[in-house]
């Protein structure tokens, strides 16, 4: 679970690197739930000149088969319409968080 927005906070960067490292060591990542400002990470218009593109990084993780979910309600609060999201991620409700909690044997959260 990621609880902070991109570029403002290290949370989503830490999550990204944690996932890469975990997968490299043979672990399965059941999913990523982007919550509160974390949903801003999937905006396809993110375009930071000369810096890492976090939305693309998450889209790549999604393309590799990891379920990347941004909270629907949080998205609505922040005007993040479905057509604004990058490919390979989806918007869904807290039911997805419950599914991840049920499916995984470890739960890690990133934020303050």
């Amino acid at each position: 679970m990621v609880l902070e927005g991109p570029y403002q906070h290290q949370a989503v960067d830490s999550a990204y690197h944690f996932i890469k490292a975990a997968v490299a060591r043979g672990h399965e990542i059941v999913g990523v739930f982007l919550y509160t400002d974390g949903v801003n990470t999937i905006n396809k218009y993110i375009n930071p000149p000369g810096e890492r593109n976090i939305s693309k990084q998450l889209s790549e993780l999604g393309a590799s088969g990891i379920d990347i979910v941004a909270c629907t309600a949080c998205s609505k609060f922040r005007g993040l319409r479905p057509d604004l999201k990058v490919d390979n991620v989806r918007q869904s409700g807290l039911g997805s968080l419950a599914e991840f909690l049920r499916a995984a044997d470890r739960f890690v959260s990133f934020g303050d």
Partner: protein, 118 residues
């Protein structure tokens, strides 16, 4: 049944976290999980009686926790030290919670395993 702790660490209105913690509890409780609501640090303010955030154009948060029993959320744990050092007592809270010491709080977290910190 999956055991989950939702931990509230922040004051109710200065940021969105406590309100989101409440929404999370509601959201995952319908999936029949064993949920413990744990309050520590400024999070203990979330359950204080008679909150009135009208001037902030927000809705009171504490009273909402009373209806969690209808969702089978029955365990509320409060970190005693956090409560007492803010000049509060068990009577100041909207519901009956377990007031526990540091050691017990830590043990409960360890027992539940899955922790959602807000």
């Amino acid at each position: 049944m999956e055991k989950v702790i939702v931990m509230l660490r922040k004051a109710p209105y200065g940021s969105v976290y406590s309100a989101e913690a409440f929404r999370t509890i509601m959201g995952i409780a319908v999936f029949e999980m064993d949920i413990c609501v744990a309050l520590i640090d400024d999070g203990v303010y979330v359950l204080v009686k008679d909150q009135n955030p009208e001037k902030l154009d927000m809705k009171p948060l504490g009273d909402g926790f009373l209806m969690l029993k209808d969702f089978n959320v029955n365990r509320f744990v409060v970190h005693g030290e956090s409560l007492f050092e803010r000049g509060l007592q068990a009577d100041d809270l909207v519901l009956d919670a377990e007031i526990v010491d540091n050691e017990t709080f830590t043990k409960i977290i360890s027992d539940y395993g899955r922790v959602l910190p807000f």
